[in-house]
């Protein structure tokens, strides 16, 4: 009984408080590899706090959609975060078919983010929106095929049992293939290298950052917080495939999970340090490869 209240509370606490730490870790990792000192780990928290207190400038071209988009996106990401189990603990909300809700919530977020980009009337932002849409079409199929592997393995159609299925029943190859595919999607969906470079300063080459060029102040703060949360949620999902080990003691597992997340951010930072951004025209090939990896993983289990 006690667990039924305390676990969801810790889950929500982590989901709300931890996201800005991950970009901080990624940036610090990249700085270490580049031989720089780098910003403080908590810098994203300071940035978001600063932005939330600022005023904002809103383009005269825009409508209410522009201001609603960051709110809808954040709400969708938050709900998606409540559907993914953290560590060995069941997610606060779980029901048959919740994986579809999970995938489609990101679709809803994308609908509003890209609409807001078109709302500014700027061709740069529309260009980013078109890229986001194109790549999302490929990665959405990959996510679903990756989840199919887990559906087949666990024999259930809900994220919590799918991701917490007993370790003994996991054949290695399909899980590894799905994990690789989903990791590529994780990088693409969170606009990390090799798909997108969050630090680039040329609008023509950006995807996610260019869509939010016209946002400022609290709205920009919400967007940054929301994308950090998306990184956390998708990382939590992929972690189940990469590190399916749990201590079995609730207290230890609740400490272990944030550590795993931070390690994940370190891995992403390492990938970013060693790779260059792909040419835009090669990105679809990478994402198609992710779909193929996941699809092949599923085929391996269909006998």
């Amino acid at each position: 009984m006690f667990e039924n209240i305390i676990n969801p509370l810790i889950h929500i606490g982590l989901l709300v408080a931890m996201p800005p730490l991950l970009p901080g870790v990624i940036n610090r990792t990249k700085a270490v590899f580049a031989g720089r000192k780098g910003p403080p780990l908590l810098q994203p928290y300071y940035d978001i706090y600063k932005l939330l207190r600022k005023g904002m400038v809103i383009s005269t071209t825009t409508t209410w959609v522009f201001q609603a988009a960051p709110v809808v996106t954040l709400a969708a990401t938050l709900l998606a975060g409540l559907l993914v189990p953290f560590g060995p603990f069941a997610a606060p909300i779980h029901f048959t078919g919740d994986l579809i809700l999970f995938v489609y919530l990101f679709g809803l977020a994308r609908f509003f983010t890209t609409s807001a980009a078109l709302d500014t009337g700027s061709s740069f932002e529309a260009m980013g929106a078109a890229r986001e849409m194109t790549f999302a079409c490929l990665s959405e199929a990959a996510v679903l095929l990756g989840l199919l592997v887990l559906v087949r393995l666990s024999g259930s159609v809900s994220l919590t049992p799918m991701l917490l299925a007993p370790l003994a029943h996991r054949p290695e190859a399909p899980v590894l293939l799905a994990a690789a595919g989903l990791f590529i999607v994780l990088l693409a969906e969170n606009s990390r290298i090799p798909v997108d470079d969050p630090n680039t300063h040329l609008e023509l080459t950006m995807i996610h950052e260019v869509m939010v060029l016209d946002n400022s102040g609290p709205l920009l703060g919400l967007i940054q917080y929301g994308s950090a949360m998306k990184l956390l949620v998708l990382s939590a999902l992929v972690l189940h495939l990469l590190v399916p080990f749990h201590a079995g003691v609730p207290g230890v597992d609740w400490v272990l999970f944030p550590v795993e997340l931070i390690a994940m951010a370190g891995v992403i930072g390492t990938v970013e340090s060693f790779m260059a951004r792909l040419q835009m025209r090669h990105v679809p090939t990478l994402l198609a490869a992710a779909s193929l990896l996941c699809g092949f993983g599923f085929v391996l289990m269909v006998r």
């Binding site: 609603a68 078919g97 700027s122 260009m127 609290p218």
Partner: protein, 672 residues
């Protein structure tokens, strides 16, 4: 009771346009009377349909026929009621909308005719769903085909309208021909023209022939690829509230016919289901890909109808496979997904056509790239279009998500449970459905963004005005129903369960449906999610919050460019260009014009469009080629009477010559 109310509604619909025919052209009140009668009929029909659907009873009756001894047999079960409810809701919405969209004063020549035919179309569609005999069915089917033909040809002074109407006319009659053959075979199998299940001893060959004829005949009406060729033109060229009826209801009558005939064939082999499932997957993918490249808002919506018919077929295929393999779980999930998507697509597609109609009404164009910024001048139409767009993309928390969730869970469950590997292949349908969903989002962001957001691309949108209340009202109702089903899906469980049970012929289906999805949890999550978003947005919109956060307005940041203009804005075509580039091998876009080559380039004209797979690439070109091939034959027919007389003499000569007993003459000669 249920039957009488529905028949009363049917009669009211059929006569709704009659008083209007008797009044002078310029008088507006004929239209008002028609709308009142339609509304009255809808109320009566809705009560009747709801009673039948909630009770799950079957009602039979027969009407005296056209001549003595021939009666029209009618039967109303939950499956019929499920469709009549949709018909009546959309009929009422379209009728009120027409009051503002197609005002008698603005269209004196066509207004009265349109009203009259509209009522007849609604009545005939209801009769198709009630028909229990081949005669009643085909009679209603033919009235439906003819009235919709005349409705598509409303603006018959435009050549493209006439062409669309004729293509539809030919298509629908080819379909009717197949249905005649199908009913003849049904008679051969069961010995009656009534829609009773064929005996179990019927050969598989005969059953397959019936199934294929039904698939062809009803598939033409439902616009299943490659039989969809009449659909985009007809939907684009009809008046918008008629397009809403065509796409929202008429296509679904094709689906109804297919469902009804499938209830008559007791033991379908699994391969039928596989065929329908594959057909649905191809339809969904091709429909959305072709939609992505369209520049005409109504034509684009028409291609999305093909996509959604594809999703409906995927669900149907799943239910059929479940039925043949005796797996009730899949029957429940598949058929519930199929039927709920029929409702949902009817609702949100009508909403989209009506709000697109508002745009056409206000600006006079259907071209996406001539519009923009309409959300400022038409906030209601924009908001309502947004609701429809989110719903059709299957995004939470609206109704499209619920039906797609049923289909997804249906497609994934075999992968989870089945021991046989072949079953698991069904799950690839879920991957395809995810791709369809993502493409649909791309397509509707393109439409919403280029029509309602950004800055105006021509001066057409700057003169636009918001539509009158008679047009906004029906759209608000439709959007409300979309939201209701999405936020509280628990309310559809009972009616949906009875309709599924009526299709499967198994009353336990209703209970299975109630436990197939966690309806309560889903309702709570959906409502909570929507409530949080709405509350936060309302707080943001409060005057107090606005004053607190002073936000100066400035022009859009154009990367330090000082004078941005709307010509620099992305067009709908450029938004879709990258994605279409990846799908070039399917969509096969055709480009005219050149790209600028040197510095300080001259103005150029460049167009890209996507010809339809069948109409533009096969049917019309094939027809032209046939005409060219037959040019030599034309020499025979020159229009001169003497020549024709010569032909007659020649034919007579040949006929007489055939009387000559050549064979006996030859034998006599040989014998000698």
């Amino acid at each position: 009771m249920e039957m009488s109310l529905t028949l009363l509604a049917c009669t009211l619909m059929a006569i709704s346009g009659l008083p209007g025919l008797a009044v002078p052209r310029r008088a507006g009140w004929g239209q008002t009377v028609a709308t009142m009668l339609t509304l009255l009929g809808s109320v009566s029909g809705l009560i009747g349909g709801l009673l039948a659907l909630i009770s799950g009873h079957v009602r039979m009756t027969s009407l005296p026929g056209i001549w003595p001894g021939v009666a029209l047999h009618l039967r109303m079960d939950a499956l019929s009621a499920f469709f009549t409810l949709l018909i009546f809701v959309l009929a009422a919405a379209g009728s009120v909308y027409g009051q503002g969209y197609w005002r008698q004063a603005e269209h004196p020549a066509t207004g009265r005719k349109l009203r009259f035919l509209y009522g007849l179309l609604i009545a005939s569609m209801v009769m198709v769903t009630l028909a229990y005999g081949a005669l009643a069915f085909l009679l209603a089917w033919e009235i439906m085909a003819l009235t919709s033909f005349f409705l598509i040809a409303t603006e018959d002074h435009k050549p493209e309208c006439r062409q669309a109407a004729w293509v539809y006319f030919v298509a629908t009659h080819i379909g009717t021909l197949a249905l005649f053959a199908m009913f003849a075979l049904l008679h051969a199998a069961s010995g009656t023209f009534q829609l009773t299940p064929v005996p179990a001893a019927t050969g598989i060959g005969l059953e397959t022939a019936i199934f294929l004829l039904a698939l062809f005949g009803f598939g033409l009406k439902a616009g299943i690829m490659p039989l969809h060729f009449w659909l985009p033109g007809a939907h684009a060229n009809a008046p918008s509230h008629i397009s809403a009826q065509l796409s929202g209801v008429l296509l679904k009558i094709g689906i109804y016919g297919l469902l009804r005939i499938l209830t008559l064939l007791p033991n379908p082999p699994a391969v039928w289901g596989v065929v329908i499932l594959s057909l649905g997957t191809v339809n969904a993918l091709l429909g959305v890909i072709l939609a992505l490249g369209q520049h005409d808002i109504k034509r684009l919506l028409a291609y999305h109808s093909i996509e959604n018919i594809g999703i409906i077929l995927m669900a149907l295929g799943l239910a059929m496979i479940g039925k043949s393999l005796h797996a009730p779980v899949f029957v429940v999930l598949g058929m519930a997904g199929c039927l709920l998507h029929v409702w949902n697509h009817g609702l949100f597609k009508s909403l989209l056509f009506l709000s697109a109609g508002s745009v056409v009404h206000a600006t006079g164009t259907r071209e996406l790239d001539s519009l923009g910024s309409l959300a400022k001048r038409m906030p209601w139409s924009a908001g309502l279009f947004l609701v429809g767009a989110i719903a059709i993309c299957g995004l939470p928390p609206l109704n499209g998500f619920i039906s797609e969730l049923l289909v997804y869970v249906g497609l994934l469950t075999p992968a989870a449970n089945a021991t046989a590997g072949g079953w698991a292949a069904v799950a690839f349908g879920a991957g395809a459905l995810a791709a369809v969903g993502a493409l649909a989002v791309a397509c509707f962001v393109k439409v919403f963004g280029s029509v309602f957001l950004g800055s105006a691309r021509t001066d057409l949108p700057t003169k636009a005005h918001e539509s009158p209340i008679s047009m906004i009202g029906p759209m608000v109702v439709l959007a409300g129903v979309c939201a209701l089903i999405g936020l509280a899906p628990v309310i559809v469980v009972l009616p949906l369960g009875h309709a599924v049970a009526a299709w499967a012929g198994d009353v336990t289906m209703a209970h299975r449906l109630a436990s197939a999805l966690p309806w309560q949890t889903l309702s709570v999550v959906s409502t909570g999610f929507a409530a949080v978003i709405v509350i936060v947005l309302l707080i943001m919109a409060l005057p107090a919050t606005r004053r607190h956060a002073v936000s100066p307005r400035a022009a859009t940041w154009a990367c330090a460019y000082a004078r941005p203009s709307s010509r620099m804005q992305y067009t709908a075509a450029s938004f879709a260009e990258m994605l279409l580039g990846l799908l070039r091998w399917i969509a096969r876009p055709v480009t005219h014009g050149s790209v600028p080559e040197k510095l300080f380039a001259e103005p150029i004209d460049r167009q890209t469009h996507i010809p339809d797979l069948i109409t533009d690439r096969a049917a019309f070109t094939g027809w032209d080629r046939l005409k060219r091939m037959l040019v030599p034959v034309r020499r025979v027919q020159q229009g001169s009477v003497q020549e024709y007389l010569l032909y007659i003499v020649l034919v007579l000569f040949v006929l007489l010559a055939s009387l000559i007993p050549v064979a006996s003459i030859v034998t006599r000669i040989m014998g000698r």
